[in-house]
């Protein structure tokens, strides 16, 4: 006995540890959200390219599209264009789409649509960049101005980060004569960025120009320019207008470099308009969508890998152990008496279709009528199988009648009764009737109410959406449940109802 107890303890420990470990792995390492309410933003970005095609020349239009680094995952990408050939290629970490057509006339409109979301998990890929660059050659007054500017920057900085910040701040100090000279009256962001790059190149600090789109709705957008520099470990991002460091999280890198967003051959007046809108989507479903586009195949081995139809069945199935647990607690800890062991769980499942209140009413009506039939049959002294068959048929007829009546009365809910498991009802009637005969009507009522109560409670708990989601997403939780059930198998304390039952002892004592 002692060895069995040890065995059991080890088994419980192993199961619970395993369950907790797997669930923790899913939550903390794979980053699967704990509740269904955790939604991710889904961004729908439309880039509308318009230009006027020259009548005779072949048209070739090139546009940068996001390289989709490790921060974002593309769910869907489409190039909408009539009569244009489309090709996408990667150049120096950028992606470029090329639309081409032999002949096109007049105003042309092309669309590029990207649906993306923030990447939801995964490791950071290795990043690399250059830490040295050659100086851009300049001559004359510019050189002197640049060197004059660089001197205080060097003094005020300690590393690349502060150096770049300081440089940007200096360039943005428009009252400085040296800056005025270098900008030559053009105070646009791109020009400032150019001058900053120039200054930094003299100090051999490489910077890259980064063109970003802001993930925000309802405002027209043009790509926003940022600078970034590699400090040997990470990319550091800077706002060329004020030297602010760090790329806000809502920026999406569209392309890197000095080139223009769009270039047209055989056309003119190319413009690009961005339209963004966002929608929310359940994080898991999203992850499932992105699954094909990512390397994380963890979901392939989860229940989410099943076809959708099957998933729905499993969502119900994984909740059955929870229902069983409710019955276990009610019976062994509380001491509630129910008909059969798992009958309440099955009734609870039936309640899914009928809704709780209506389900209880239907259950009560059918069981009551079935019981009266059963007690009538009792007088006829029938054998068990024929008697059960008669009751079952009666239950079917009753269900059909209820469906028909409720349909005529316009109560569509009544139709759901058809899904009430007839065999379960029949067995319930039979068992209840036997209990009635053997232990009296009072006890039968007690048991029937106990069963209904247990079924209702099981139903309520089984239909908590958060719980369903949790168990479905982290099925390892079931191992913890099994651990608890095993422990319950050795529970030898009193049941709650026994405390009442044996009260007679204590009353006697106090006398």
């Amino acid at each position: 006995m002692r060895s069995i107890t040890l065995h059991l303890k080890i088994l419980i420990t192993v199961l619970v540890t395993l369950g907790i470990a797997i669930t923790a792995y899913q939550i903390f390492v794979l980053g699967i959200p704990v509740t269904e309410d955790e939604t991710d933003d889904l961004w729908n970005i439309d880039a509308k390219v318009e230009f006027v095609a020259n009548t005779k020349d072949p048209v070739k239009i090139q546009m940068f599209v996001p390289p989709l680094s490790h921060d974002y995952v593309s769910l869907n990408e489409s190039f909408i264009s009539n009569n244009y050939g489309v090709s996408v290629n990667r150049v120096d970490g950028n992606r470029k789409v090329t639309w081409s057509a032999r002949r096109a006339t007049g105003n042309q409109t092309l669309y590029y649509r990207l649906v993306l979301t923030k990447r939801y998990s995964g490791d950071k890929p290795k990043i690399k960049g250059s830490v040295f660059r050659d100086s851009i050659a300049i001559e004359g007054p510019e050189k002197i101005a640049a060197e004059a500017l660089l001197e205080p920057i060097r003094q005020h900085s300690a590393d690349i980060e502060t150096f770049v910040t300081e440089a940007i701040k200096r360039v943005n100090n428009l009252s400085d004569d040296n800056v005025k000279l270098l900008l030559a009256g053009d105070t646009s962001t791109s020009n400032k960025a150019r001058i900053t790059e120039l200054l930094l190149s003299i100090a051999h600090v490489p910077v890259e120009k980064l063109h970003t789109i802001r993930l925000t709705t309802d405002q027209p957008q043009t790509p926003e320019l940022w600078l970034r520099s590699f400090n040997g470990k990470d990319w550091l991002y800077f706002n060329p207008d004020n030297g602010e460091q760090g790329l806000p999280t809502d920026r999406l890198t569209w392309w890197i470099g000095d080139e223009n967003l769009v270039s047209v051959e055989g056309g003119k007046k190319a413009t690009v308009n961005f339209t963004l809108n966002n929608s929310e989507m359940n994080a898991i479903r999203l992850a499932k969508l992105t699954d094909a586009n990512t390397d994380d195949h963890f979901l392939g081995y989860s229940l989410y890998g099943l076809p959708l139809q099957t998933q729905q069945t499993f969502m119900i199935m994984v909740m059955i152990p929870i229902g069983v647990l409710v019955i276990l607690i009610l019976r062994n800890l509380v001491g509630l008496e129910t008909l059969g062991t798992f009958t309440p769980v099955l009734i609870a499942l039936a309640f899914r279709e009928t809704q709780l209140g209506f389900g209880i009413v239907l259950f009560t009506i059918i069981t009551a009528l079935g019981l009266s039939l059963r007690s009538y049959l009792e007088h006829l002294k029938l054998q068990m199988l024929p008697r059960l068959s008669v009751v079952l048929t009666f239950v079917v007829v009753l269900i059909a009648a209820i469906s028909l009546f409720s349909h005529k009365l316009g109560l569509e809910r009544g139709l759901s009764v058809a899904l009430f498991p007839m065999v379960i009802l029949t067995m319930t009637i039979e068992r209840l009737s036997i209990t009635w005969e053997e232990r009296g009507s009072g006890h039968a009522m007690k048991v029937a109410i106990g069963t209904l109560f247990a079924a209702s409670l099981a139903h309520l708990i089984m239909s908590v959406p958060e719980l369903t989601y949790f168990v479905f997403t982290f099925p390892a939780v079931l191992l913890i449940l099994v651990g608890f059930m095993l422990a319950m198998g050795r529970y030898r304390g009193y049941r709650l109802t026994e405390l009442m039952r044996f009260k007679a002892f204590l009353k006697d004592e106090t006398k």
């Binding site: 006995m1 062994n332 001491g335 002294k381 054998q383 068990m384 199988l385 005969e437 053997e438 232990r439 009296g440 006890h443 198998g489 050795r490 529970y491 030898r492 304390g493 009193y494 049941r495 709650l496 026994e498 405390l499 039952r501 044996f502 009260k503 007679a504 002892f505 204590l506 009353k507 006697d508 004592e509």
Partner: protein, 323 residues
Amino acid sequence: MIGFWKTWKALEAKGIMGINRRNADYVLKYNKRSLYPIVDDKIITKERAIMAGIHVPEMYGIISTEKEIDKLDEIIGGRNDFVIKPAQGAGGDGILVIADRFEDRFRTISGRIISHEEIEHQVSSILTGLYSLGGHRDRALIEYRVTPDQIFKSISYEGVPDIRVIVLMGYPIMAMLRLPTRQSNGKANLHQGAIGVGVDLATGLTLRGTWQNTIISKHPDTTNSVDGVQLPNWDGFMKLAAGCYELCGLGYIGVDMVLDQDKGPLILELNARPGLNIQIANDCGLTHRAHAVEARLEQLALNGEQETVEERVRFVQELFGLK
């Protein structure tokens, strides 16, 4: 909540056994599933008992197929009173007690006159499993009708009072006299409304009773005191009960016995999951007694000894008897 906790602690201190403990520590531990048929089927119990030389009501015959119903007359012979029982019945259902003949018909114990056909129908119902647990096919058992000893006349209402003894590994640890009431329809099952009366293991004197989970000292129908009644041949009962361990091999059983006015103590049936109300009847918990027996067993196992039925009865009477 605190109230519950207090009750819990108080019950634990008294050694009251709950269903969970009974199941986990005794029924599951000492009762091998494969041996259940011995107690579930009254015919097997009876055969085993006869082999072991334990007294049971005499079996007149068994009917196991529809065809054999024709043999009913042959089995009954010239007897005026007999009992027909389902071998695997539960809760006393399906039992037909014939007390006498009346012309060509029979008279039941309650005075109803029934025909031969009705008896045959009853047997047929038994065979189809109408009364058996789970509705399996069953056998009908025709046996001797027990006439309760006169001693019970004043404290029982109809039916046959029986004596339930809980036996742990051959050691009787608690006993109770079960008295039918008007409410229990002459049946001796406590949950059907019969009275349970505790019995002192050493002397066979009755103690106070329990009825519907409350403590009583008078029979509700006859209003006679149920306590202080000396059960005759008590040591016979104790030995009979203790011997049932060897008979069935189950370590934790409830032995139901009757006292026939002619044949003395007889085994009626065995129960592998005896109820817990016996504790209320005896105003005493089972746990401490069970632990005492288990300690004794351990000690004996250490010395490599085994005790005979007489030694076991003496042991429990000395330990659990009320002085």
